[in-house]
Structure formats: structure tokens, C-alpha cells
Symmetry: C2
Subunit: 112 residues, 2 copies
Amino acid sequence: MGRRDGNADLLPGTLHLMILRTLQREHLHGYAIAKRIRELSGGEFEIEDGSLYPALTRMVLKGWLKAKPALSENQRKIKIYELTPAGRRRLEQESGAFKKMIRAIQLVMKPS
Amino acid sequence: MGRRDGNADLLPGTLHLMILRTLQREHLHGYAIAKRIRELSGGEFEIEDGSLYPALTRMVLKGWLKAKPALSENQRKIKIYELTPAGRRRLEQESGAFKKMIRAIQLVMKPS
DNA sequence: AACTATACATAGTTTAGAAAGGTATTCGAA
DNA sequence: TTCGAATACCTTTCTAAACTATGTATAGTT
């Protein structure tokens, strides 16, 4: 069948990183996080509900995020997520590791 | 415990790519592929046997690699792997997708 | 009235890679 | 000369992450 454009699978192991980075800029609720990442990536990443909510749950359990129940402008029940201090540290650590990883992959991939 | 330097886990989904690229340069046997990737990555990637051999088996089954039984200089029994035409096409496709993915992640991660 | 978007959630499946174990040979150093 | 390190292969078991599919419910649009 093949996927339509801008709907490729994520590179595994990068979802946490992108969520952390997105919440560093703004406090958002789950649905809005997926939307913002879609926008920021130029439509490349379409995060499925089945990836998003389990990831958020994991990250709260790990102490990287805090969830605050709230109401949207339209009085819908939402959960606003924000980084904890541990989440901020985790972001620094993960993004450093990611850059290092990419550099190493590029060394392997580079034209001989 | 924490891992020692140059022994981080791989970024999932990039092992096939690195194996394909490595075999594009030279025909190598399994053990030598892991060694070459370790060297090329500046010691960053230490590919475990339990990752390497199942990956090679998968890739042969998918028709991307061909394995030829041979003997090393020291008369050890080895299997030399090489890319098939499908493997070469797969390398082009995967490396394009990877670059696109990295660009999109960098859009998400970039300083606001 | 129907459809789309918003907003959350969970169950089940798949897959890759890691951990851990195993076999066997060769070579150099103690 | 024996012992360990490196070479070379393989398999079983486990875990984690992400996808698929499904479900609930409300708000706004057409």
C-alpha cells in the first residue's frame, strides 16, 4: 500500500527527544504536542495516538514530565504537560547523545 | 552500571543502513563488518553478536545480501557477504529516507 | 443529520536490538 | 606450554518502542 507523503514511521528512539524539546518551548497538551511536532517537521512526522499517549505515560512515570489537568478554550478536558527539572536534564543528555550518534553514523555513511 | 565510552546502544533502525553502506565499499564477513563499523564510527558503535548475525540473516532473507562461504587467510571458515542489486537499491532508498528523517528531526530540535 | 477535528485511552501485535549463552579455532604472551 | 584474547559463527530469550486498531466523548462545521 505505501504510506502517503509526510507520514513515514518515526526513527525509533527519537520520539522522547522531540516531545522533550517541544515542551521546552511551550507547555502543551498531548494532542497539541503531536500537532506541533507535525508542524515543526514540515508535515514529515505524523505521531499516532498509539505512540503518543504511551510515550507520555512513560515519560511521566520516569519523572521527566508533569501532567496538569486543565480545560481548553473550548472547555474540553485536557492535560497540560510540562518538563520537570529531571526532564530538562534528560533533554540535554538525550540531545547530546543524539548529536554524537548522528555524527558517528555520518562517519560510517560518508563517501569513502 | 553505565556503559563505557564508545559502547552506546545503536540508534534503532540504522543498523541495516550501516551494514549496507559498509558492504558497498568492500565484501566482508560478519565479524569483519562489525569491526569495520566500529573503526569507521571512531569506536562509537560496538555491534553485539546478538544484533549482527540476526540482522545479516534478515537481510539475506530479504534478498539484499548474498553470503558466500569462504576461508580466511588463516584458514578459518567465514561467510563473505555482498550486496545484491536489490541491496544496492535498498541502500539508496534507506539512505535517502534517513537523510530526510534527520532533516525533519533537526527542524523540530532547532533553537526556536 | 453527518462529518471532521479535537482529546483522551487501551489492547494487541510486530520488530529490532540487547543480553546471555554456546561452539570452535588461532595466536601470542606469560 | 598453557592460558587468555581475539577471531568467527550461531541461537534463545527478553525488552522496549512504536504501530494498528479500536474505543469513548465532545465541539464545530456543512
